[in-house]
């Protein structure tokens, strides 16, 4: 396993999924800032997260929520 320094893949997965503490996430983000290969792995993992989100079973949503949302948006400064 090539870990590119001190960050193994399981930490990349946890960072991208949002599972790390603030301190751990800072270590991963700081280290990956200097390693494009690791940034590519984070991007891949976030893409997996996005696809898992998009393939989730849709949760029931209030039918009027879109109109409520547009009203809220219109009222925002």
């Amino acid at each position: 396993m090539k870990t590119y320094g001190i960050i193994p893949d399981e930490w990349i997965v946890s960072y991208a999924s949002g599972a790390l503490s603030e301190a751990h996430a800072l270590v991963v983000a700081s280290h990956c800032h200097f390693h494009p290969e690791l940034q590519g792995k984070i991007a891949d993992t976030e893409e997996i997260g996005g696809a898992l989100m998009a393939s989730s079973n849709p949760a029931p949503f209030s039918n009027i929520l879109f109109e409520e949302l547009m009203t809220k948006i219109d009222e925002l400064p």
Partner: protein, 188 residues
């Protein structure tokens, strides 16, 4: 909820510039009806309750409305972009943490060069690819990926939840991630 028919043949990523440039409400409505129930479903995994999940989902969609110009379909998929926003809002508002974020979109091309793919086709198929790749994981691998993404559990929390040694949890995440990347890289 019925989706409006106008613009329905345009890919989700292509709808975003209509919001950025023209504040097109129909484009936004289509994206809302598709993504809001799925974002809510993702957020409900964190046991925050129905109302909080809907509130955070609304905030994600408001961010899409106001910051649509920041989405670059050449660098990321819309589902990835929305996932990041939802994740960060959950961490910020529920866990009360600031999550240090890297802009990794300029380094996306590790598995495939974006210009070599049919973007529209790719966007439609990515969820299917991921699902297919997930189905090929062993049950043990799938469990740790689910707990990572849908519960945001740390390695030690996953070990506690599953009763597995910490080293085994790390190994399973690592091998699952490698398998997913190989599977996706081969197919895209």
């Amino acid at each position: 909820m019925d989706e409006p028919s106008t613009l329905s043949n345009i890919s989700h990523g292509q709808l975003v510039p209509l919001i950025a440039n023209d504040k097109n409400k129909e484009a936004f409505r289509i994206l809302f009806y598709y993504f809001a129930p799925r974002l809510k479903s993702y957020l409900l995994n964190f046991n925050i309750g129905d109302q909080k999940a809907e509130d955070l989902t609304q905030e994600v969609m408001i961010t899409l409305w106001h910051k649509a110009e920041k989405f670059d379909p050449e660098k990321a998929k819309l589902s990835t972009w929305l996932f990041r926003i939802a994740r960060n809002k959950y961490i910020d508002q529920v866990r009360k943490q600031k999550y240090p974020e890297l802009n990794v979109d300029d380094h996306v091309a590790t598995m495939v060069a974006p210009e070599k793919t049919d973007q529209k086709l790719e966007k439609k198929q990515t969820s299917t690819l991921i699902q297919s790749a997930m189905e090929k994981l062993s049950l043990e691998q799938k469990v740790v990926i689910d707990l990572s993404f849908f519960k945001e559990l740390s390695h030690s929390q996953i070990a506690q939840e599953t009763g597995l040694p910490l080293g085994t949890v790390k190994t399973r995440i690592r091998t699952a991630f490698k398998a997913l990347r190989v599977e996706l890289g081969d197919k895209r």
